[in-house]
Structures are given as C-alpha cells and as structure tokens.
Subunit: 228 residues, 4 copies
Amino acid sequence: MPLSKFTCCPLAESQAKRERRKEARPGELLAAALDLFVEKGFAATRAEEVAARAGVSKGTLFLYFGSKEELFKAVVRENISGRFTEWEAELTTFTGTTSEMLAYAMRSWWERVGMTKASGITKLMMSEARNFPEIAEFYQQEVILPGHELIRRILQRGIERGEFRVLDLEHAVYSVIAPMIFMMMWKHSVGACAPASFEMHPELFINQQIELLLHGLTGAGQPVAPRA
Amino acid sequence: MPLSKFTCCPLAESQAKRERRKEARPGELLAAALDLFVEKGFAATRAEEVAARAGVSKGTLFLYFGSKEELFKAVVRENISGRFTEWEAELTTFTGTTSEMLAYAMRSWWERVGMTKASGITKLMMSEARNFPEIAEFYQQEVILPGHELIRRILQRGIERGEFRVLDLEHAVYSVIAPMIFMMMWKHSVGACAPASFEMHPELFINQQIELLLHGLTGAGQPVAPRA
Amino acid sequence: MPLSKFTCCPLAESQAKRERRKEARPGELLAAALDLFVEKGFAATRAEEVAARAGVSKGTLFLYFGSKEELFKAVVRENISGRFTEWEAELTTFTGTTSEMLAYAMRSWWERVGMTKASGITKLMMSEARNFPEIAEFYQQEVILPGHELIRRILQRGIERGEFRVLDLEHAVYSVIAPMIFMMMWKHSVGACAPASFEMHPELFINQQIELLLHGLTGAGQPVAPRA
Amino acid sequence: MPLSKFTCCPLAESQAKRERRKEARPGELLAAALDLFVEKGFAATRAEEVAARAGVSKGTLFLYFGSKEELFKAVVRENISGRFTEWEAELTTFTGTTSEMLAYAMRSWWERVGMTKASGITKLMMSEARNFPEIAEFYQQEVILPGHELIRRILQRGIERGEFRVLDLEHAVYSVIAPMIFMMMWKHSVGACAPASFEMHPELFINQQIELLLHGLTGAGQPVAPRA
DNA sequence: CATGAATGAGTGTTCATTCAT
DNA sequence: GATGAATGAACACTCATTCAT
C-alpha cells in the first residue's frame, strides 16, 4: 500500500481504528471473561473485573452482552467451535495403523485444545454445569457427543481391523477421554497453584499414556517413555 | 420403651434429643454444606440455604462456623479423612501379584471414596482451588501427596518384581489417577444433568479400565469386560 | 397491669417490643413510601430514601417487600380500603332531601379521604397509571367503579324524587367527582409549592361547590358562601 | 414544481430537506419529549427513547438541549403559549350575556387546549410540579395566574351585570376550572387505559357541565343535555 | 453538525454477618 | 444456646452525558 502514506484525510484511518476497536471489543471481552471465569468461577467473577481486564469500563461490557449470564453463555459458545468436522476428515483419510491413528488424535488434541485457552472451557463446564443446565446441554451436543463419536470410531476401526481386542466400546471411550479431561482440569486447578512436585509434562504424559493405553503396564517391549 | 413411663414430663426426652441434636449440629451443617458447595460452588451457595437444609436458623450456622469461608474449610477438612494409613497398611501386607494389588486398590477406592459423597470434595477442589489457595495446599498435603505416594509404591513394587515394565513413575501415577478423578468430576457435573446416553456404569468402567491399564488395547487374551 | 412492675423476666417485654416493631415495620414503610411516591413519583423515589424515612436500612425494606414495584402496589392496595360499603349503608338509610344527601356525601368524603393522606393515592394513580396498568385496573375496580356507583345512586334518587331535573347521569357523575379529584391533585401538586395567592380553603370551596352544583351560578336566593 | 428542472442533482433537494429537517429538529424533539413525558413521567422517560422517536441519535438530543432537565423545561415552556392575550381580546369585545361568554370560553378552551396535545402539559405539571419547583413557578405565572384572571373577569362581569349572584370569586374560579383540569388528567391517566365503561364524551360533558354550572342540578327548565 | 461508542455515577437488590431477644 | 430481624457492603445493571470520529 505505497499510496497510503499520502492519505489526505485521517478520517478513513481513525474511522477504521474505531471500527476495528468496536469489532474487536466483543472478542477482547470474551477473552477476558474466559480467563476470569476459568480462574474464579462464574459467581465469583465480577463484571467490572472482566471489563477492566478488557480495558473498558463496566458500562461497555453491558453494551455488548446484555447480562453476566449472557456473557457466560457467549464465552462457552465462542470457544466451542465445530472443529470436529475438520478433525473427522483428517481421520477418515488416515492410512496408518489404528494405534498410530489414536496416537495422532491424542497428540493433535493436545496441540489444538489441551494446551490452549480453550481447555479452560472444560474446567468451566465441569464446575458450572449444574448452574447452567441449558449451557451444559449445549456443551453436550456440541462437544461431548461429537468427541465421543470420534473416539468411538477410532476404537471401532481398531477392533474391526483386528488391531484392538473386543471391548465395551462405550466405556473404552471414557478410558481414552479420561486422561485428557484430567489434564485440563488439573492444569486449571491444582496445577495453577501447585508446588513443583506436582508439575506435569504434558507431552511426556501423553506419550506414555498412549503407550499404556495401547500395551498396558505389563506390556512387553521397550520401556515406556523414560524421562529425559 | 418401658423406661419412658418414668419420664414425667416430655421435657427430659426432648432435652435429650436436643442434646443429641446439639452435638450433631456441626455434622449436619457440614453435610448440608458439602452437598450445596458441590452442587453450586462456593460463591453461589447461600449460607441461609445451608442452614435451612440442616434444619437450623441462619444465626446458628455462624455460631458453629465463624464465616462462610471457615465453613468451606471445615467441609474440606472434615471430608479428608486420613484413610490412607489404614489403606497403606492393607497394601503393605498384601501378598498377591501387583496387578491384583492395583485392581484391589482401585476397586476399594471406588467403594470407599468414589461412590460416596466424599467424591464431591474432589469436584470442589478442582472448581475452587484457585479461590482457596491455602485449602488447596492443605488438600495437596493431605490427599494428593499421600495418594500419589500410595499409587507410586504399587507401581514401584510392580517394576521391582518385574511384573510391570520400567516407566516414568511420576506420569504413570497420573495415568492411574486420571480415570478416578475423571469419574468423580463427571458424576458431579455432566453426569448430574446428562441424558441417558451419557450414563456410565462405574463398576464396569473400573473393571475395564484396570484391564486396559494392565494389558492395553492391543493386549492379547480374552475380551475385556464385555458388556452384559 | 399493676403486676407488671414485678415482671421477673424482661424477656416478655422486650420480646413484645421486638414483635411490635416487626409488626409495625410494614406499616411504617408503607407510610413513608406513600409520602415519597406522592411527592416525587415512583421512578424518582429511591428505595433507600423510603427506608431511611421509615427509620430502617435499605436491606430491611426488601425484607418486607420483594421489590420497589411490589412496595408500590402494596402502597396503593393498602390505602384503598373498601370504605364504600360503610358509606353506602349510611346513604341507604339517609332520610333527608337528596340535596342534603349530596352535601353530606361530599363533606364526609372530604373528612374521610380528601383531607387525609389517602388523597395522595389519587395523585399517584393519575401520575403513574400508565406505568402500572395492572394497578390502574385494580384501582378502577376498587375505587372508581364503586365511587361512581355511589354518586350515580344519589343523583338517580334526586331525579326519581323530582328534586333534580333529568340529565345525562354518566356525565353528571363526572361533574360531581371532578371538583373532588381536582382538590386532591391540586393539594399534592401546585398546592404543595404554591404562593399564598393560590391557597385554597377546602371547606369553603366544598360548601360553595355544593351550592353551585345544586343551584348554579344564576341561582336566585342568598349569596353563596361569602368568604368570611 | 416547475423550478425543479434546474435541480441538476438531487443533492440540492435532499440538502433542502435536510435544512428543513435541521430547523425542524428541536420541534420534533420537543413533540416526542412531550408525548413521552406525559405518558411515563420525567424520570421514567429515557433520553434515548425521545431521540429515537424524533428520528435522531442520542447525541443529537444533547446538541439541542443541554440536559434532560432542560429538555423538560423547554417542553413545558414551548407548550405554554401566551394564547391568553388573544383570548382576552376575544372576551373583551364579547357582547352577549355572561352565560354565553362563559360557555364560549369553556368550549373554545376545549378546542384549543383540552382536546390537543397541550393538555398533556397539565398532566405533566400536576405529576412533576414538586420535582421542578422553578418550572412549576413559571407555569403558575404563565398559565394559572392568567387563566384564573380570565375566569375571574368573566365571573366578575356576571356579578356586576346582575346575571350571577354574589359569590366568593376565588373559589368560584376553581369551580369553573376543576372540570377542565379533571378532563385533562383523566384523559392522560385512567382514560388512557380504561375500559369502555369509563369512556367520556368531552363535548357532551362540557355542555352539560356548563348547564349545571349556570343553573345547577335543581335548576328548572328543560332537561340538561340529554344524551343523544 | 450528527453519530453512537464509551463512560461512570447512581440505583435496585442480594446476602454474609451481627446482635438483641 | 438458638433465633431471625436488621444491617450495609458489594455487585449487577441502567442511563444521562461526553467526545472522538
């Protein structure tokens, strides 16, 4: 844009800046709210604090979200993207073994969700589900259901191809999911105020968890992810 | 009740009942508080509601617990029994294989903690840890640390006796704990308002989880806990 | 109560005092609210001010009335007693001329309503009716309708007995009511902040109004209620 | 519009319209404000609503009126025309009987004020006088005082010419004014949300009211304004 | 001039906590 | 001890007013 330095009227620019701010506001507020809701819970988070963290005044918050509750719902909705379709596509075209597939799914989950702020949503839902049944319902439809479906299909593939032994699919899904839920909860609760002794190295843990999930504690073969 | 004919006035009886109630008060309050804190979180639980559920007046609550925060601490403290000593004793004298030992530990954990109200404490800590750092610290010392220690010793025994392969102990502990934490969280959040499709059969899940933990998905042998 | 000076326990007395206060609270609050609502309108009256005038804290107000709106409704309801039955009884047994009857009705209205605080309710309703349609409806049923009925019956009697000439009853009712409504409005608006020049002597006005209503401006006979 | 062919671009036209609108702005705002103030009272009327009804933005309102209070004052001031001079002139040159004169005054009042939006101002003053003493004072000087003066002069004329009997002038003025005030209040309060049973036919009422005022309920002669 | 995004003082309402009874 | 009436600090939310664009 070489011409832009000659811009005769600053109107465009400042207008743009204002517009940009206006469009950015909801996002900034949602980000601030996510942080605080995850950190302190819904009830203990003050609206003014959210506003302050987003760099605006209390009134502005209510300009964008009609109430604290609507803000909460927006936070959850915003962070529950339908990332599953993309994910399922990847797995549908996967050509390796199902063990590799499962490992891939767990590792990419960590990179795309577990290690990001989005993981806080899970903590939020676990903590507040009973106070927001409608939101919990929404979360189940949008996250839990497709998530389970995804894992179930992987396990099914493993069984059908003779890679995994026959097992109770429904509960096996929970076995795969449990360590992931656990990591998110841990990170946002004990992990946030724990002494060094409880530090967890997520990548190491995931690697070993995959190993254990596939071959078990008694599994033969090389030692499992020895700590560097 | 042949003695009752000597009770000239019902005063004595109700007096006695009152005494009993008086001594029971703190316990009833703690039980009510546990329920409500688990259900709605600390901030969203009203002191009056706790009192009402315990069958006393608002004022009485503050007679026994100086503040809502103290009540919370007492709830946590009260429900963190030093059951570990007893438990460790059991395991120290355990004579079977380590696989059996691990299975025993997980199953008895379910009976003694997982399926009881005490499981709510874990949900509470996960939800509120960051609002109550001192309590979280206390919880770590009293529950997490000994719990980890217990699991670690089992795993260590397995490795030393050549039953389990060598692995990163610290993270393996998390692999054992994760499904248990998961069950408690699930039960008190999604599980409390979930449709039938998300129902979980804890015993089945634990059985299969033990199997998976020991032999993995690819493990040979008979199918794992096929659903009845 | 000569024995009361020996009352061994002051419990009874203080209990009583507390009880009395508790029972008196709603009344005190309603009185304070009536004053302020009449003076400043519903919206411009602050809940805290009402409480302060009743000698209690803001919180106490909400102990007795769930919301400002409920307080408003209670104020109106409280001051709309079914005084009409008593009134109608009086008029049913009235034996004089209908002129005397009308005069009696207007004068006793002044003593029982017009000159009391209850007159403020009319101002309130006139000012706020459109903001509280349900209350306005209630007011119509409880006050306007029976009030009109009462006046209508008097006029009807006058016509039937040949004392009053035939006229459009419905509108004649308004002619009787108008000066009374007017007095209440005036008193609580202009009258409350008017210079001496607008002072009104209600008794004089009513007397002359009765005279005019009965005989008109052109009526023969002695001068009408010359000012003392 | 033969000149319009010289308007090469529609800009001029819309420019013109804009100019016109610009000059019309204050008037539109005052009209909108009058409606809303009358309907909901001063405190319960939101500035933004006034602006919206006038078709401008919130900011624009404050461009023309420094504050909501100033807007209110302007509304009152604007709607209190010095129509009295014109009126007094009419009455000064009146040649009929004083009864006719009074009837004319009341009927023309209805046409010029009572049935127009201006009647809302009276409701406003009655409702808000105590919150705006200065405005109330102004209203007294500009409306009440000259209004009373006008009525007083008519009555005085009637007495002096022997048409009306001697009476307490001050209070007789109120007797004339009361039904007019009443009509305006009624129309803007109960009348605005009343069931058909409380409907009032202003012309009928005024006619009969005049009759009653002149000859009273007991007046001989033909029946008073029998309902068509 | 007009706009509407932003502000923050103000108000209704809640609820932990106190204390007279 | 037990009660529950009373308190007032705290917080969600509103809205008149400002001002950058």
